[in-house]
């Protein structure tokens, strides 16, 4: 039993890791295709049909490039930076419930690596840790622009974490639990949290854009001011890790948003489907629905990137501290009052 449990979890972790990498790979392709679509171009179309092999070509190119370590860089930390960015991006998937329990003739396999009872806070912790990869890499490069970018990333993350935490508090008032599995199960049959927390969701989403350093909040890699940002000095696969980590972060935060606010693996009519297709196919359909929601969010991330121009740094800080935080606090107060009145 013990051994099979370990094998089961190990397999799940491996699959999740592979899926994260695969989605990150094809996100780079999707980003270019979406950009091309929005700008009325064709996008990559040379490698394979519709350019479908483009990510592989890019990967090979990244691996083949020369490794350059700047002579005055702190060599050890220069290597730790991209690794840390990648690690923090990947460990977020551990607590997300990917589907209902699979039932193989009485043997129940949960499609979640671990259901810790502080799941939401764990996600939050991973998000707050994510900035270290950027900070350490930017500092270790021994380049003024990289350092500036690292400092920007730090202050941006800290600022938006506050508003993000406050929006999560309002959500927890509604859900009454910190376990992601229970949050998803509570949203069964159209009780999606976004219907109860529209403002909270908006704040959470804006903060996720800022935390993943995506446009319009990609100030740490603002090439017009900082050459390339924190990865100016990086080359080869180390640079690849940083770029990849951004896409994995995007995937994970899309998954978190779908799980917290859009019902996770729940979909309309799932009870009817579950009664008709059997115990193994039904959870897998739920998982497919969750992935559809995630892809919709990833597309939204890209859509926004090519629609809204980058903020100025003071605008970023004003938005974070003077708009989002007061709004999030007001949201908590209103939610609390409504809950008190309803339960009265």
């Amino acid at each position: 039993m013990e051994i099979s449990f370990v094998i089961e979890k190990f397999a799940l972790v491996t699959i999740l890791f592979a899926i994260s990498l695969l989605i990150a790979m094809y996100s780079t392709y999707a980003e270019r295709k979406v950009a091309a679509f929005l700008q009325d171009r064709l996008g990559p179309d040379r490698a394979g049909p519709f350019g479908i092999l483009q990510p592989l070509a890019d990967g090979v190119k990244m691996f083949m490039k020369e490794e350059i370590v700047p002579s005055n860089a702190s060599k050890w930390l220069f290597m730790v930076g991209p690794g840390l960015a990648m690690l923090c991006a990947c460990i977020g998937t551990a607590v997300i419930p990917w589907g209902q329990d699979l039932n193989f003739d009485g043997r129940i396999i949960p499609l979640q690596v671990t259901d810790i009872n502080v799941g939401v806070l764990y996600i939050f912790g991973v998000v707050s840790l994510g900035v270290y990869g950027v900070m350490i890499g930017g500092w270790a490069s021994n380049n003024k622009y990289s350092l500036l970018s690292a400092i920007r990333a730090a202050s941006q993350n800290i600022s938006y974490e506050v508003a993000m935490g406050l929006s999560i508090i309002a959500l927890l008032l509604v859900t009454n639990t910190l376990s992601l599995r229970e949050i998803v199960e509570d949203q069964h049959a159209w009780r999606w949290n976004v219907l109860y927390q529209p403002l909270g969701f908006l704040i959470f989403m804006i903060c996720s854009f800022a935390e993943t350093n995506r446009a319009p909040f990609d100030l740490p890699e603002c090439e017009t001011e900082l050459i390339g940002g924190y990865h100016t000095e990086y080359s080869s696969m180390k640079l690849g890790f940083y770029l990849f980590a951004e896409y994995i972060n995007m995937f994970v935060s899309s998954a978190v948003m779908a799980t917290l606010y859009f019902g996770g693996y729940n979909y309309p009519g799932m009870d009817w489907v579950a009664a008709h297709v059997g115990p193994i196919a039904a959870p897998l359909i739920g998982t497919a629905v969750l992935f559809l929601k995630i892809f919709a969010f990833i597309f939204f991330f890209m859509w926004v990137r090519w629609t809204i121009p980058r903020f100025r740094y003071d605008q970023l800080m004003n938005l974070g501290w003077k708009v989002l935080i007061p709004l999030a606090i007001a949201n908590i107060v209103i939610t609390g009052i409504v809950i008190a009145v309803v339960n009265f």
């Binding site: 930390l77 810790i116 009872n117 502080v118 806070l121 764990y122 939050f124 912790g125 998000v127 707050s128 840790l129 900035v131 270290y132 900070m135 350490i136 500092w139 350092l147 690292a150 400092i151 730090a154 202050s155 993350n157 800290i158 974490e161 910190l178």
Partner: protein, 168 residues
């Protein structure tokens, strides 16, 4: 199993804490401090205090240490331009550290004799139980400390505002 994990993590905590003091570069010091806090998080998990563990993770590792690193990077401290400490300051530091050790040793001795640290409820560290304790019997101290934090925050904001007025 639990004890051996504890000894392993405790050894790591001590090694990392020592590295905080002995590293020459302030940035490396802070990075070792982050690792030290990470081992503390593991200690909390071993004590079944999950909420404390994850809050330690978020607040200390994720926020306060980022700010430490931020300030150090902004000031760009190097060994060369660090001001030399006078003998007077060094002696003061030794005396203050000695006082702290005496107080800690004294208090731990008293605790060990009077009330061995056995939790009445081993699941106290879970979010639900901790919340009920904090908002039940410990309501007043909890609210008072939050007001204290709010006052400190308002004070900090006020200090920056005043400077702005004097300059303009």
């Amino acid at each position: 199993m639990g004890t051996s994990v504890f000894y392993f993590v405790a050894t790591l905590s001590i090694i990392f804490s020592l590295m905080v003091i002995f590293s020459k570069n302030p940035i490396h010091s802070v990075l070792y401090l982050i690792l030290t806090f990470f081992t503390f998080t593991v200690h909390y998990v071993l004590l079944n205090a999950q909420f404390l563990a994850v809050v330690n993770f978020i607040v200390y590792m994720g926020a306060i240490m980022v700010l430490f690193l931020f300030v150090l990077m902004l000031l760009n401290l190097n060994k060369e331009n660090e001001p030399n400490k006078t003998a007077f300051v060094k002696i003061l530091g030794v005396i203050a550290g000695g006082c702290l050790i005496v107080t800690l040793v004294g208090s731990f001795k008293a605790v060990a004799i009077n009330s061995p640290l056995v939790l009445k409820d081993p699941n106290l560290g879970l979010v639900k139980n901790l919340g009920k304790e904090l908002f039940g019997p410990f309501m007043l101290p909890f609210e008072l400390s939050s007001i204290l934090l709010l006052v400190a925050m308002v004070g900090a904001v006020l200090l920056t505002k005043k400077e702005e007025k004097a300059n303009g």
